[in-house]
Amino acid sequence: MSANVQTAPLLAIATVQNVVDQQYLTFTLSGEPYAISILCIKEIIQFGQLTEVPRMPTFIRGVINLRGAVVPVIDLSARFGKFATVVGQRNCIIIVEVMTGEEKHSIGVMVDAVNAVLEIPAKEIENTPTFGTNIRTEFIEGMGKIDGKFVIILNVQHVLSMDDMAALVAERSGNTIDVMNS
């Protein structure tokens, strides 16, 4: 059981070390293309009925009912410190599985649009540049080349780190009053 659980993220890391060619899902976020390894993706659903949770930072959009399970939805654009995503026609929620310690969590990621599932050969993936991107470097796993253009491959474990996000939530709810008063 636990071995099974761990394979997904482990394999995702393995690709960077040029072991196997892997498939990636590409999607758009405020006009820019990104990619994540399909191994950690459970499913993609249409952006629909969402319940907002009050007093949460903007990057937590709310929660959805995924066949009886309550799954939080993260606004990736807001998570990267940009503006909150404006809901349009092509919005999607990608359901991703991340590991926190021994536990497996499902998280929904809200994006502008999903594009395609592509195979990016390992030799086409460059190491993360130390600067020159507009999101935190630890969020990036590598830069994939598709048709001569670079696509940021995200490190899902870091972008959706439960500890990191939970700390932000706690910090915010503790600070609300000060913000209100000042």
């Binding site: 949770v53 007093r55 949460m56 929660v63 009912n65 309550v70 706690a170 709810s173 009053i177």
Partner: protein
């Protein structure tokens, strides 16, 4: 070796039996004449001995045997129960517990523990010696005839050897042939009777043809000594159960044999036949005689046998008892099933899903406006509700078991302290979730010890204060507003407010000159580091590790409060949620979001306008003469969306607090399955969980107590910043 899982079962069972034994031992002091209690102690010891023997735990068998012999004498009335005996039996019980714990850890006891055990055995044996003199020596009576004489003798009349053989499952696999032993036996004497015991053979589909399920009961005429006969079975002794009784054995040995035989519900006659006390022919003639009797006069077979002077009454009694025991065991087995807690949780989860699905169907039926469908969904949801209740009841246990454990604690601690303290238990039948019961034990022990140590005064002080010498400690439990309340109260000296306050100031927990209510002062004893060793026997020293108690209770989402009257005693009140996965909720709308408030906490709903006529929007309203603070959820939660036509106040109560929550819409009752918040949202205080509504939407469950706390906290912070701001403003000027 023994598989671990079996050993685990042994450990669990033994612990349970030891608990029963302890409970009975504590009771027996008050009611020394009740045979049921003594029997209960004996049964527990006997069963432990039996199963320990199965696992080859000889040290447990030896020790339990000593205890059992004493208990047997008590049972027969040869030894009278007194407090000294009970004390040594309790000691024996504790020692057994230690031994079982060693087994659980897979260690063998150290020599020190062994020594202690031997000392206990010799202590117990002194009771046996006292009674020995009164016993007659039965071995001198010899009856040469083959059949039993009706004379009151302790010896069974057969002059044949009696052998009980039960072959181990692996005998065939080890290359042995059970019958070859029988043949070999025949070379040492004449086999008079042989009964094959095939009761152990399972149903055909479960039977393993390579396993041996056989047993024999053999009556043997032989002039050899016991050792020679034993040697026949040298090769199989390890994995078979072999019992050999010489001719003219004592009846008690036959009784033992009957006890130890694998428990099958055999008819009395057959048991006696298989034991070789009677031959089948004799039994047949007895049966014949019985059938001849008039129906109205039908006697139990046992009496018939005695009348015909074929068996002596004690043998019959033992056999009858054996039958009874087997029946009893069967009954107990049928009434209780051990279930994995995980399976229960799974069931409860599924019932939760069922409730959500049912609510969905209900909604669709109403939308479709089909009366028949609405009716059938109504029936369905009623049934689902019942299923929910019984599923949840599976996890509920009575708190009595936990309370009874304190009889022992109180007994021991009062001896240790030299105080005479009585424990009064009430509300033992109050039920709560098993996980809560398991976790409440430690904090309760702490509180009880504390009350006895620091609360109840010594006898002299009590006398001088005009109280009865015997102190009393009360444990009480009851249900109240969706939570369970457990009270630990004593009639001791109570808490000394001044001392607590001085101590708190000394430890910088409270600013000097602070104006605290009584309750706030009492609650100070729960502060970490409040009490230290230097005040052990001091009243204000109450609270050794009280912060741990509070933390444990808070971890169960509970609260703890103290009420005290100086000189008269104090009561510690623990309030715990029933920790149910499913609750009845009250749905309210704030903006576009739906919230669920646990129904148990809702007192009433009122329209805001009807009760407040000041447009300045105060913080409280006058509810039939009562001051009710209220807060708009919309403001607190910062929600957007349309404001409702008229605002309503939901009056909620939790413990002593009452408050109003202003919402936009009231949407009615709803059965709610609590979905945990998950790691991401744990930082948010006012929300206790999620739930899924019939239409598939997610709603938020309001955690009323922590929401109240949060609101109070925010108000306090606000006031502080305001006062700070005005002060700095004044400074600038």
């Amino acid at each position: 070796m023994i598989p671990d899982e079996y050993l685990q079962t042994f450990v669990i069972e033994s612990k349970e039996l030891l608990e029963q034994m302890e409970e009975a031992l504590l009771k027996v002091e008050q009611a020394p004449d009740d045979p049921e209690i003594i029997n209960a102690i004996f049964r527990a010891a006997h069963t432990i001995k039996g199963s320990a023997g199965m696992f080859g735990l000889d040290h447990i068998v030896t020790f339990t045997h000593a205890a059992e012999s004493v208990l047997d004498k008590v049972r027969s009335g040869d030894i009278a129960i007194n407090s000294v005996l009970v004390a040594s039996l309790i000691e024996a019980h504790d020692y057994l517990k230690v031994l079982v714990e060693h087994v659980a850890k897979g260690m063998s006891p150290s020599s020190e523990i062994d020594e202690y055990g031997k000392r206990l055995i010799s202590q117990l044996e002194t009771y046996l010696d006292k009674t020995k003199e009164s016993e007659s020596n039965p071995l001198t009576v010899v009856t040469p005839n083959a059949n039993v004489e009706p004379v009151q003798t302790d010896v069974v009349g057969t002059d044949y050897w009696h052998l009980s053989l039960r072959f181990g499952v692996d005998v065939f696999r080890n290359g042995m042939d059970p019958f070859s032993f029988v043949r070999c036996l025949a070379s040492h004497g004449t086999i008079v009777q042989l009964v094959t015991i095939i009761d152990a053979i399972p149903a055909a589909e479960d039977m393993d043809p390579e396993s041996c399920y056989l047993g024999f009961e053999i009556s043997l005429q032989s002039n050899e000594d016991k050792r020679t006969i034993e040697n026949v079975f040298n090769f199989v002794r390890d994995d078979c159960s072999i019992r050999i009784l010489p001719p003219h054995s004592k009846i008690s040995e036959y009784q033992d044999l009957i006890h130890e035989l694998p428990e099958q519900e055999m008819r009395l006659g057959e048991i006696l036949v298989s034991c070789g006390t009677l031959t089948p022919e004799e039994l047949e003639s007895v049966l014949h005689f019985q059938s001849q009797c008039d129906e109205a006069l039908q006697q139990p077979i046992g009496e018939v046998l005695v009348e015909q002077k074929m068996v002596s009454p004690p043998v019959i009694e033992a056999a009858l008892k054996k039958q009874e025991q087997v029946k009893e065991n069967k009954k107990a087995e049928a009434n209780l099933i051990r279930v994995d807690a995980e399976k229960l949780d799974e069931l409860i989860n599924l019932v939760g899903e069922l409730i959500i699905a049912g609510a969905g169907t209900n909604l669709i039926a109403r939308r479709a406006n089909m009366p028949d469908l609405i009716e059938s969904t109504a029936t369905l949801s009623r049934l689902v509700e019942e299923v929910r209740d019984s599923a949840l009841a599976l996890r509920m246990v009575q708190i009595g078991g936990t309370f009874n454990r304190f009889q022992r604690v109180v007994r021991d601690v009062s001896k240790e302290l030299g105080k005479d303290i009585e424990l009064i238990i009430s509300g033992a039948e109050t039920e709560l979730d098993k996980t809560v019961v398991e976790k409440i034990g430690d904090p309760l022990t702490h509180l009880v010890r504390n009350s006895m140590d620091h609360g109840i005064e010594s006898a002299e002080v009590r006398l001088s204060r005009g109280k009865p010498v015997k102190g009393s400690l009360k444990l009480n439990a009851y249900h109240d507003a969706g939570s369970i309340v457990i009270e630990v109260s004593d009639d001791g000296g109570g808490l000394n407010k001044e001392k607590i306050l001085n101590k708190a100031i000394e430890r910088n927990l409270v600013a000097e000159g602070a104006n605290l209510t009584d309750k706030e002062i009492y609650n100070l004893i729960f502060e970490a580091g409040f009490s230290t060793a230097e005040t052990v026997s001091n009243l204000s020293g109450r609270g050794v590790g009280m912060d741990v108690v509070r933390r444990n209770i808070q971890a169960l989402r509970g609260t703890v409060d103290i009420e005290s009257q100086e000189g008269l005693g104090s009561t510690i009140r623990i309030r715990l949620p029933l920790t149910l996965a499913i609750i009845d909720g009250f749905m309210v709308g704030v903006g576009n979001t739906v919230f669920v408030i646990p129904l148990d906490m809702v007192v009433e709903c009122i329209e805001l306008k009807a009760w407040t006529n000041d447009e300045r929007d105060g913080q409280c309203l006058n509810l039939r003469g009562e001051v009710l603070p209220y807060r708009r959820l919309r403001d607190y939660l910062n929600t957007q969306g349309e404001q409702g036509q008229r605002e309503n106040v939901v009056v909620v109560r939790y413990g002593d607090h009452k408050a109003g929550l202003v919402v936009d819409k009231l949407m009615g009752e709803f059965q709610t399955v609590i979905k945990p918040l998950g790691k991401l949202f744990q930082g948010e205080k006012g929300i206790g969980g999620f739930t899924i509504l019939g239409n598939g939407d997610v709603a938020l469950i309001v955690d009323v107590p922590s929401l109240m706390n949060q609101i109070e906290h925010e108000k306090a912070v606000e006031e502080m910043t305001v006062s700070r701001a005005s002060r700095s403003y004044a400074e600038v000027i």
